[in-house]
Symmetry: C2
Subunit: 203 residues, 2 copies
DNA sequence: TTTCCCTGAATGAACGTTCATTCACACTGG
DNA sequence: CCAGTGTGAATGAACGTTCATTCAGGGAAA
């Protein structure tokens, strides 16, 4: 008997679903959750419309799966951060890469869409909020590890800092998606603000 | 003959259109640009579907008019700021109110939707970008007035600062629209970052 | 054959838009 | 005062299209 504490087994359908999700992401980015039709999604995934319903029961389910997939990725990133030698330093490095790098890349580009959709759909809002509290919790876990405080103490002292950092990272990610100006300097200012905030935790 | 340099005359239809726009805003907020149907909009405005097309040629035109209306409001705010005794101090005060106050109020609540829609519609992206450059230009005008520099010089020195402040104000506005946590402390941190950036212009 | 994956046409609902029609009312000639 | 006439605002049903979803069946592997 195998001990698998994480996932039971990545079945064939699960792998296929993940591939479909990856293909579908760009279509949602181009047209939005409401704007992208099932035919657009099918074309993007390279499968027929009907076949879609073998893997996802509805269009809404696709969106939810997409968000949860991203949440899993974030969770995995934080797992790596927390098990690294110096979690706080690693976190700073990851944040720096996110803010300065081409943040319009894969996962964060969908966030604008998710935030907008959260206003209209209670289910999406719930998924988005779950992801956000998850990230905040991971921030605080890093802070707790860095300072030696308990999670409760870290929450009490640094939850504002964590929220602030999250807001700033999101703000930086939404930058320059309209590709008109070079936002490098602005990104640097944002990163400076983040570093300043993180300095309150560990100077 | 009357000298009207601003608007020629607010015709009856124009007044009516403005009223319709105000009514329609909440419907768009509730369901999104794509999610709100013409029947939703008509119900919100208290008129029939067909009558809508007397005032706006298409659904897209309603959205564009909504954005341009908000742009006019912003322009009016900046006109008041620039003609005040101390433009820089007034600007700081307005920003403080926007960041700390209930920014989910009328105009800024639509911005999330606009940013998302900008990805899918070139026309909306254009309108949004026009509004953004307009705001940045006004920021720089205030900075120029404060420092005594020319507009070109102010642009060269402070355009990054202006972009940063705009990003921060937008970030603060998108906060706490999911009404789960009290973001007062986070707002205060954002305001502190903005004040710090503005301090580079006028200490 | 049975089983499984897949297709693309079919379906009814809902969409944005248009249109024939109705309504309220001001103005006229008597 | 009243019929007659013209006007523009307003309606809601109808149009063609597109949507999400379903389904009868094709074709390969076992």
């Amino acid at each position: 008997m195998q001990m698998t504490l994480t996932a039971p087994a990545p079945s064939h359908a699960d792998i296929r679903s993940a591939g479909i999700l990856a293909s579908v992401r760009q279509a949602f980015l181009d047209k939005g959750f409401d704007g992208a039709s099932m035919q657009d999604l099918a074309r993007a995934a390279g499968i027929s419309v009907g076949n879609f319903y073998r893997y996802f029961p509805s269009k809404a389910a696709i969106i939810q799966a997409l968000i949860e997939h991203d949440a899993d990725m974030v969770q995995r990133d934080f797992a790596a951060i927390l098990t690294s030698d110096q979690p706080m330093a690693t976190l700073r490095q990851v944040i720096r890469a996110r803010v300065l790098g081409d943040a319009c890349a894969d996962d964060l580009a969908l966030w604008t869409e998710v935030e907008a959709a959260s206003r209209h759909s209670a289910e999406i809002a719930q998924a988005a909020q779950r992801m956000e509290t998850e990230v905040l919790g991971n921030f605080l876990a890093v802070f707790a590890a860095e300072t030696g405080l308990s999670l409760a103490q870290a929450h009490q002292r640094y939850s504002t800092t964590a929220s602030f950092v999250l807001v700033m990272v999101k703000a930086a990610s939404c930058l320059s998606c309209g590709a008109h100006i070079d936002h490098t300097a602005v990104r640097a200012m944002i990163l400076a603000s983040i570093d300043q905030a993180l300095g309150q935790v560990a100077p």
